[in-house]
Symmetry: C2
């Protein structure tokens, strides 16, 4: 566990918690670490929503696949972000999404009941964890609002430009790398891939953006 401390102390779940207490807390929470290769399923849709996940290395995606096989990407998560926490905390019986390794990654899994309910020991830290979870879930809600703002646009062009503008604002720079390849970006924006490629080319020709692979620049 020790080698993960540098990541974990930056994790929103452990905000305001002293580093020297962290190892003890992890023990009390019965935290486990697992490794996953690229494309492997970390948490499967339909399985019990009892775990709070933390990305320690690599990256993962939250996805949903409908009965037609269409993939929808809800978000991309990187260290030291938390995932699946809302489902666990809302005590949803089963997960409505899958979490997939986007590259080889190490994931910490914590049974949410260990976080939400006290265990009888000296659990001074529970209140802080619950407060942190509340903040974290609230922040995620904001991100979902952004995704809805993006996908509520009616055209591929507007969806893309809204996404890029928000990303630039977040990155605080007009030039940045996005965490998606073309198909993934299409699945995030909820549009057709070939149409998206065509629209990117058009925006380039019009001199509104520059783009090479997943590097974009707003002009």
């Amino acid at each position: 566990m020790k080698k993960y401390l540098n990541i974990l102390k930056k994790c929103p779940l452990f905000e305001q918690i002293e580093e020297e207490n962290l190892l003890g807390i992890l023990g009390c929470l019965n935290a486990k670490v697992e490794s996953f290769d690229k494309k492997y399923t970390i948490l499967a849709e339909g399985s019990p929503a009892k775990y709070i996940g933390i990305v320690l290395s690599g990256s993962a995606q939250i996805i949903q696949i409908d009965y037609n096989g269409n993939r929808s990407i809800l978000s991309n998560i990187t260290p030291p972000q938390v995932f699946a926490e809302a489902f666990a905390c809302a005590e949803t019986p089963s997960l409505p999404v899958s979490v997939i390794a986007d590259e080889p990654c190490e994931i910490m899994l914590i049974d949410c009941r260990r976080v939400l309910y006290t265990c009888g020991n000296n659990c001074f830290f529970h209140q802080q964890l619950i407060f942190n979870l509340m903040k974290d879930i609230a922040t995620k809600t904001i991100l979902f609002h952004q995704k809805i703002e993006i996908t509520s646009k009616r055209s591929t062009r507007e969806k893309l430009m809204t996404y890029l503008s928000l990303y630039a604002k977040e990155a605080n720079a007009p030039s940045f790398d996005i965490p998606f390849d073309r198909q993934e970006l299409a699945d995030y924006l909820e549009v057709d891939r070939s149409g998206l490629s065509a629209e990117i080319s058009k925006l380039k020709r019009e001199g509104l953006i520059k783009c090479q692979k997943n590097h974009f620049e707003l002009l």
Copy 2:
């Protein structure tokens, strides 16, 4: 305040709080009640995100209007639901949405700092409120997932059927009233109103649904 107790004791924010303590807590939170006529703005986009709202009577809508004037409806809220709590708890500087009265309504507004931070008095209840907020925001996140699941479908028909199916599941009945008129439903599904009307007619002709105004039945 007394006349609102019956609603407030059912409010997710006050879960597990004894009714006899509620009035005192409301005082400590400095809760205010305001009335709004239909179509009036309860909280405006861009204003500081400091209030947690509770619908005491009537109903309200969370909406977003883009630079083209297109309205997007994020959700419809009825008593005793809470709103704007995620923005307040995430300490977002300003609201990215507006809250509008959908019919005449009474709204309780609470400054979120009174909830999140202790005031020096006998604030035994803060921990419970924070726990309740966490649960409530987590539940809202699930609802956003549902909205994304609906709007990620590529056709008006699929969006509508997904919406109706989820609504029927929620209502636990094949027949139900939705809280939207046609234009509002279109703005929730993120589609064109006239196209939506046409699609509803088509589904009726095909015998897949029955519908009169805002009453729907899945066949």
